[in-house]
């Protein structure tokens, strides 16, 4: 159960494979989170928010996440804030075209597709690109249109409804840079906030604030 007396918010960074998790950890700690890189179901269940990081391929990501899937889904059902980053964001969608047609977590209706290969673009899309804000979301508090964030990816999400794409970026096509569930509690960034300098740190701070706000809702659910 969530303790109301706790000062700093507890964030579980899901550890389910390889990759750099330390940057997300340090970024969240910087903004005052009590965070842990963990696969411990008890810590995850009691956390105020969950970060789903990820690099690599969709299929192996989903496979590695399998042991934590139920507890993650329970948290989402209870309205606990979840932040998916990069592949972690893509896994929030219904399915991906990477490596066939692979089912995702389905918290955000939509699919993940590859950048068109006939446009002469270098793939992966790697580097700093600008955000175009499309809809309000607490993750964007204090973030201006045109802010630069750091991307590394070859696939991107297409949400089933326009309003679930909070911000876009442009690389040959306009693609979803930030997506959300319809209740706003699940949010995903295609870019790496933990590698996006001050702008990214600001977003992690915004996520932490989402965790504070929703704790009350979560508690009121009993």
């Amino acid at each position: 159960m969530v303790q109301s007396s706790r000062q700093s918010k507890r964030i579980a960074i899901l550890d389910y494979g390889v990759g750099n998790l330390k940057s997300a950890f340090k970024g969240l700690r910087r903004v005052g989170a009590d965070c842990r890189i963990t696969a411990d179901p008890f810590f995850i269940r009691d956390a105020d928010g969950i970060v789903l990081p990820g690099v690599g391929a969709f299929k192996s990501g989903m496979k590695n996440l399998e042991p934590l899937r139920e507890i993650l889904s329970d948290a989402v059902a209870a309205g606990k804030p979840v932040l998916g980053i990069c592949l972690g964001m893509q896994m929030l969608l219904s399915l991906s075209e990477e490596g066939g047609l692979i089912d995702g977590l389905g918290y955000i209706p939509g699919r993940v597709v590859r950048f068109p290969q006939d446009m002469g673009l270098k793939i992966p899309h790697m580097g700093w690109n600008t955000l175009k804000v499309r809809h309000d979301h607490p993750i964007l508090d204090g973030i201006m249109d045109g802010a630069y964030v750091y991307f590394v990816h070859s696939y991107y999400a297409v949400t089933a409804k326009d309003e679930l794409t909070v911000a876009t970026s442009r690389y040959g096509v306009d693609f979803a840079a930030i997506v959300t569930s319809s209740n706003g509690n699940v949010v995903g960034t295609q870019f790496h906030p933990e590698k996006s300098g001050e702008i990214g740190i600001k977003m992690l701070e915004n996520f932490l604030r989402m965790c504070s706000t929703s704790t009350k809702n979560f508690k009121s659910l009993g």
């Binding site: 390889v18 990759g19 330390k22 992966p124 790697m126 580097g127 690109n129 590698k195 996006s196 990214g200």
Partner: protein, 271 residues
């Protein structure tokens, strides 16, 4: 729009407790230039888009010190970090990424054992694996090579060199660039020994030739002395990023200054 990247390179030698930063002139005659963690923080504040740490001593027993540098830098610096220098094992790559780095560069080990590129990109993802290609002009034995024409019309080919630029291996650099792309490398960091350390401009002919030969991003390295040089590497050379070491270390040019200059000249940069 995707911005062109400016990347300061920290050539780290770890012969003292906390390590120090140096920059080679044609890879010899090393000069000291400060503490790596402090320098990394300064670059971050000045608007660096990424940081590359090259361990130029690169002995395995000192790897731990580089990991410590990455971990300490990561406390305050939230931009991508790449580590290179003598990396030859999957386990080393794993440890470096776990310490908070986003990418590694492989160089000599990739030439000697190209399967390392396949294995590393398979395990960690292509985006993590940067192949550093060091090369130099060869004016002889042109037959069967990818010929590059220099500004004055001279025809040369570029030969891959390893062990910090000392040993030529007979491999064509353009062929090698395509090969590492095919094997899964996500990016190429290209250094020409003919321009490195001279501050007389990047080697534009080979930078352009390799940028056009592959579909992965190219980091131009070796030879930056002026703002114009960096502009040329990103436009004439078609590079996606420009790397420099000594001009930034010794504050001959500041990163902000570079970016303002590029912006004025119509190059997309993160300001």
């Amino acid at each position: 729009m995707l911005a062109k990247r400016i990347i300061p390179c920290l050539d780290v030698t770890l012969d003292e407790a906390s390590g120090c930063v140096v920059k080679g002139v044609e890879f010899v005659n090393l000069r000291r230039a400060g503490d790596p963690v402090e320098l990394a923080k300064r670059y971050n504040e000045e608007g660096a888009d990424e940081l590359i740490f090259l361990d130029i001593t690169a002995s395995s027993d000192r790897r731990r010190t580089m990991i410590d540098v990455i971990e300490r830098t990561g406390e305050d610096v939230f931009i991508p970090m790449t580590v290179g220098g003598g990396i030859s094992e999957i386990e080393e790559i794993r440890n470096i990424l776990r310490a908070g780095a986003d990418k590694v560069t492989v160089n000599t080990a990739a030439v000697k054992k190209p399967e390392l590129v396949d294995a590393a990109s398979e395990i960690f993802g292509s985006q993590c694996i940067v192949t550093a290609i060091d090369c130099r002009r060869n004016f002889e034995d042109l037959e069967g090579k990818e010929i590059v024409e220099l500004e004055d019309g001279t025809k040369v080919w570029y030969e891959v060199v390893i062990y910090g630029g000392r040993t030529p291996v007979g491999i064509d650099a353009i062929w090698w660039a395509r090969e590492v792309e095919r094997r899964g490398s996500g990016e190429i960091m290209l250094t020409s020994m003919n321009t490195d350390g001279r501050k007389d401009g990047y080697d534009l002919p080979i930078t352009r030739a390799i940028s056009e030969a592959v579909d992965i991003p190219i980091i131009a390295s070796g030879g930056a002395g002026t703002l114009e040089h960096i502009y040329e590497a990103l436009t004439v050379g078609k590079a996606d990023a420009a790397l420099a070491a000594s001009i930034f270390h010794f504050r001959e040019i500041e990163i902000k200054e570079v970016k303002r200059y590029l912006k004025e000249r119509g190059v997309e940069v993160r300001l």
